[in-house]
């Protein structure tokens, strides 16, 4: 359930709801971190749920001593009213059998808040790509049938690749085709739930492998930015684009503590 930070419940009617799927390489979550940190989004509440493993820590977006002591939990909501953006960040994994109930509860709340559309940032295992996918861009999009015509037109004009259907049962030759997102975590469940609740949902994902997924996250936010224009578009130079997005202070030591000098 949504629990606001302040006394009143914020009005999210007409807002764009951005969220990550906990997926391979945690790319969606890393991308959300970049968006929340760069846009300096303000925390407006918590999504208190029994579906995620609990976790706490100090403010992951801290920029100074003063703002570093605010406690953060596993599912928090941030907003940027000037751009009518609301973002959910997920920081832990789902408890067994709880991912579907989470999607149901979350999307019910999003629908009742009258958000204009939902955007899901996700990723899929790159080793599952077929030959055609290997030769094309690693980015894909997927829309529920309830996405506004204007968005569909805009996306078509960007020449993006739609997520292809693949055989439901890969080993069988004449198997039916359906949308499969291996390594996508709750992405498919969100898509199915979005369709059944008639929610306008756009899923953006990248084919990735586990490893240092920061470049993948930067790629995904740039992909999103092509459409949403959260930041002013710039040249194609990847270094320049990386500099525009502010990495949060919590990304320090992503691969563990310092090494003992005696090792060398």
């Amino acid at each position: 359930m949504f629990v606001p930070c302040g006394e009143s419940v914020p009005d999210l009617a007409g807002y764009t709801f951005l969220m990550p799927a906990v997926s391979v390489g945690n790319v969606g979550q890393l991308a959300m971190d970049l968006i929340i940190s760069t846009l300096n989004m303000c925390k407006i509440g918590y999504f208190y749920t029994d579906c995620l493993v609990p976790m706490v820590g100090n403010n992951p977006y801290a920029t100074a001593e003063e703002n570093s002591t605010e406690l953060s939990i596993n599912a928090e909501i941030y907003a940027l009213p000037s751009k009518k953006l609301v973002a959910l960040q997920l920081r832990s994994i789902f408890i067994k059998y709880k991912s579907k109930p989470f999607c149901e509860k979350l999307l019910s709340w999003v629908k009742s808040s009258n958000c204009a559309k939902v955007i899901v940032l996700s990723s899929s295992h790159s080793y599952h790509r077929n030959d055609l996918q290997l030769r094309s861009t690693p980015f894909r999009y997927l829309l529920t049938p309830y996405v506004q015509k204007s968005i569909q037109t805009k996306i078509t004009s960007l020449n993006w690749e739609e997520m292809e259907k693949s055989p439901c049962i890969p080993e069988i030759n004449d198997s039916e085709f359906c949308i499969r997102i291996p390594g996508g975590g709750i992405t498919k469940t969100l898509y199915d739930e979005g369709c059944s609740k008639e929610i306008a949902m756009v899923i953006l994902l990248k084919f990735v492998s586990e490893g240092d997924n920061i470049p993948d996250a930067l790629g995904l936010v740039e992909y999103l930015n092509e459409w949403l224009q959260i930041l002013k578009p710039c040249c194609d130079d990847p270094t320049a684009s990386a500099l525009r997005w502010k990495m949060p202070s919590s990304w320090r030591l992503l691969f563990g503590s310092g090494l003992p000098p005696a090792l060398f």
Partner: protein, 307 residues
């Protein structure tokens, strides 16, 4: 914030989910996002029969968290803090934190047991909680007879992730209690502490704190720096609950390199004795130290492999 799951370091940082080992065989490397289970879960859900559902229901019933009074052998009909409203709730999680509260807090004053949690999971197979030996894992609640609004919990059993929220609900209930202050004590292994120096250069044990927004007192030690997080249960669960429902709460986390019962680790919690929550509850520190030493020796005898 750090993602949950182990960090990937060194040579396999660029590896795919299928990885080749030194010997050349291809193995399935674990996915950091924990998504492997999701797909299996989905498949399982589709193939589930009525029998499977019944097995799952029975398992869920076995894993239910129950709170009851050992003296009367009756279950609590409402949440513990609804039945015993308190202004101070102190919880120790793990053997070192429990030993600290036993020796320094529970030795002064008379503490009456008000409840006990019955939990069953892979790590904690307590079925008979009426006759618990000191060595067994347990979760017991007490209040101070002279001041019943002080409630203490000694929790040395493992609370699984699927039991965590049930435990919270059975203890705190569904309506938030704002007129209380919560103090949580627990330990973690020092290798979990992320720092730019190597962990081998740290002088453990050392204490770190995390507090909710509504906790206004200065903590007794430095705050846990980014990017460190706390994700063990029930410490993270209790603190999250307090942050969301705006209850003043503080977590004191002792990073140690000895996870079993250890005198030096227990003594590392001593700075907390001067905090507002524990002041007034602690009377005789030298006596407490004696009690603690006795606790250590009792434990050592029990852990002798030749008996």
């Amino acid at each position: 914030m750090r993602r949950s799951g182990a960090p990937r370091t060194g040579p396999d940082a660029g590896a795919a989910a299928m990885a080749a080992t030194f010997f050349g065989e291809v193995v399935r490397a674990p996915c950091r996002a924990g998504t492997e289970d999701e797909e299996e879960e989905e498949e399982e859900g589709k193939r589930e029969t009525a029998e499977d559902r019944e097995v799952r229901r029975q398992l869920a019933r076995k894993r239910e968290v129950r709170l009851f009074r050992r003296q009367t052998k009756t279950s609590l009909e409402v949440s513990l803090l609804e039945k015993y409203p308190c202004s101070k709730f102190i919880i120790a999680i793990g053997n070192n934190a429990v030993a600290f509260l036993s020796s320094f807090v529970m030795n002064s004053g008379v503490w009456e047991e008000v409840g006990c949690a019955n939990l069953w999971n892979e790590w904690c197979r307590t079925t008979d909680t009426t006759h618990l030996s000191p060595a067994e894992a347990f979760c017991v609640f007490y209040h101070l007879k002279s001041s019943p609004s002080v409630v203490l919990c000694q929790c040395s059993c493992y609370v699984a992730e699927d039991q965590q929220y049930q435990w919270l609900e059975k203890v705190f209930g569904s309506c938030a209690r704002k007129n209380m202050q919560v103090t949580i004590l627990t330990c973690r292994h020092v290798t979990d502490y992320k720092t730019s120096e190597s962990t081998s250069s740290l002088h453990s044990p050392f204490l770190k704190a995390l507090k909710t927004q509504n906790f206004k007192e200065p903590p007794c030690c430095s705050l846990l720096e980014q990017p460190n997080i706390v994700h063990d249960l029930p410490a993270a669960g209790v603190l999250s609950y307090c942050q969301v429902w705006r209850i003043p709460a503080v977590l004191y986390l002792c990073y140690t390199d000895v996870m079993k019962l250890d005198l030096i680790t227990v003594e590392a919690f001593k700075p907390i004795l001067s905090s507002r929550s524990l002041k007034g509850l602690v009377k005789n520190i030298p006596q407490s130290t004696e009690i603690l030493k006795k606790l250590m020796t009792t434990n050592e005898i029990q852990s002798n492999i030749y008996t």
